[in-house]
Amino acid sequence: MSFHPKMAYDATFHKSARTLDETDKGAGPPFAYTAENRARFDQIVKRYPPDRRRSAVLPALYLAQYQQGYITANAIRHVAELLGITRADVEDVVSFYTMFYTKPVGTFVVQVCRTLSCALNGAERVTEELTAKLGITPGQTDASGTFTLVEVECLGACDRAPVVMVNDGWHECLKPEDASRLVDDLRARGESVLSGCHHVVELKKKAG
């Protein structure tokens, strides 16, 4: 269907889904682990056989992402050098797993679970409300760089649907009508407003 009337056939059409940029501008600032992260890395690598350092690529990338907010080409270079693998090996991994960002993201990455159980409980409407509130569609970051909205697949807390993950923290049973307030609360008081996982919620309730 290459000649479908709706299909614009021009240079912009042929683009890669890859986001990593290794030009001087896109490679990000020079990257190396902080002393603290380097020490953590050295600890983590010990979990794997000495000739299998590559096993540590996911933890190593997490360290880089926590340190810098997202994974740059320079971070990939650093990780590749520490693990003794090629940069392509590292990018293979970065681009495969959904939890690594190759572009700067907002202070709060709001990840709405969109898979079945959450959707049956209104996740689509949560996304709708958040989209309206933030003025961005899933995949985008707002102009102020505060919020990034993402739809993610099943988070594994289907009994507390709809679930939203904000950065690494969980917020459960988010009713569509409460979505807008969550945004305000996050803005005002940060991640402390998140409910946490349900047993934390229950235990808090129990403790009164």
Partner: protein
């Protein structure tokens, strides 16, 4: 049946080592270390414990297959709980992490491994904190590390954090991911029991499976087998979600029926609605219809009824659920999670999703329905791993039972079912 695995999960300190030890924790490990490794394997075989990850393969057999002539050997615990509708391992690790650690240690002892990696999905950060802490405490108290409890047995347990990939729950893809690669499945043969992690013999076991091992060691294989119907022994965690009043994890034996789980434990369908269909074992299995609710929720009975127990994730659908929408929702999931390695899955899930999206939006044509069946049949049984069969199931099962809904979409040019939980506009994945 009273809960066993989840007996104490509502206790505030259930996750601590002190609490666990006070409640007979690590007694099974102590007992195991006085037996020969082969005896443990024999016990697990005799207990009939079947893998709780989805396939239901006998755990004792898996352990027996591990090549004992090659050193080192490994246990890889599959804690990448990602099957839509499943959240039981989440609970176990969060509230009873030492049970898993004890299971890992006994498993290692049984197959002669010295290292177990717990591959936990990246999104469970709060669980990881608890698990890391529990592992550190177990080391400090001598339940892990060198010369455990003076037995001369060494065992290390490490947590390994995934980073967002459903396919990492496939056992060989999990091993690839543990080796620092893309979570893509390997060809079988060879099976992990012979060539697994780092090309060494490896047992890959689900969290709930390993959590059952200490029970078998301390209470005996016979007791375990006696819980539940024949060949479906032991306690089982059921995850009930969807349109029910009280979604949650319910532990019982496998004699229970789906109706007892849904209407009893989970309080029935909410808002006075009627039940339209049930997915009994995670999004990858065929739906069961309301007249099948008296089916026993055991591996064998559900299979006999035409579906699979899978990960025991029971998703309840009420009469507001559009089954075309459901198929589209799940195919979006499978298309997104396909690892892209083998052709039928990579190209086929994308194709199916595109057709479904068209139909769901009312842009379908009648011949699309045969096309859906045909493309599904072309994927099934031809992929590298079981993902392909899983991915087409939502399509084939809804076409089988709800073909009229597809036809209605095509004739009306829109979805005729309205539900207050559906989006008003097309946003996000639906845009």
């Amino acid at each position: 049946m009273d809960p066993i695995l989840t007996k104490y999960v509502r206790e505030p300190n259930s996750f601590t080592l002190d609490f666990y030890v006070e409640h007979e924790g690590y007694a099974a490990l102590k007992a195991a270390l006085t037996k020969k490794p082969d005896e443990i394997i024999e016990m697990v075989k005799a207990s009939g414990l079947r893998g709780r990850g989805g396939a239901g393969f006998p755990t004792g057999m898996k352990w027996q297959f591990v090549d004992k002539k090659v050193e080192p050997r490994y246990i890889a615990c599959n804690a990448d709980e990602s099957e839509p509708g499943t959240f039981k391992d989440h609970l176990l690790m969060e509230r009873n992490p030492h049970l898993l650690i004890e299971g890992c240690a006994i498993g290692c002892y049984a197959i002669g491994a010295k290292v177990a990696y717990i591959y936990i999905r990246g999104e469970f950060l709060h669980v990881q904190g608890i698990l890391e802490r529990a592992i550190a405490d177990a080391y400090a108290r001598g339940f892990l590390g060198k010369n455990i409890l003076g037995s001369g047995f060494d065992c290390d347990v490490y947590m390994h954090r995934g980073a967002g990939a459903y396919e990492a729950g496939e056992e060989t893809a999990l091993l690839e991911s543990l080796e620092g690669k893309r979570a893509q499945p390997r060809n079988k043969p060879p099976f992990p029991a012979l060539v697994g992690l780092y090309n060494k013999p490896t047992a890959v076991n689900n969290v709930e499976t390993l959590c059952n091992v200490p029970l078998i060691v301390s209470k005996g294989a016979e007791w375990f087998a006696g819980l539940g119907p024949e060949k479906n022994g032991g306690p089982k965690l059921y995850c009930v979600s969807g349109h029910v009043k009280r979604p949650g994890v319910y532990e019982t034996d496998m004699k229970i029926t789906l109706r007892e789980l849904i209407d009893g434990h989970a309080g029935g369908v909410r808002d006075g609605r009627t039940l339209k269909a049930v997915i009994p074992g995670g999004s990858s299995v065929p739906v069961l219809m309301p007249d099948q609710l008296d089916t026993q929720a055991s591996f064998d009975a559900i299979q006999k009824a035409g579906s699979l127990l899978g990960s025991a994730a029971i998703i309840v659908l009420d009469d507001t659920t559009c089954m075309v929408w459901l198929a589209e929702n799940l195919l979006h999931f499978y298309r997104h999670e396909s690892c892209g390695k083998c052709t039928p899955c990579r190209e086929g899930t994308d194709w199916l999703h595109k057709i479904l999206r068209r139909i769901e939006r009312g842009e379908g044509q009648m011949q699309d329905l045969d096309l859906l069946s045909s493309v599904s049949a072309n994927i099934a049984g031809k992929t590298l791993c079981a993902f392909g069969d899983a991915a087409v199931t939502p399509v084939t099962t809804t076409l089988k039972h709800f073909r009229h809904e597809y036809e209605a979409h095509i004739k009306e040019g829109r979805c005729t079912l309205t539900a207050d939980w559906r989006a008003r506009h097309t946003v996000g994945a639906h845009a």
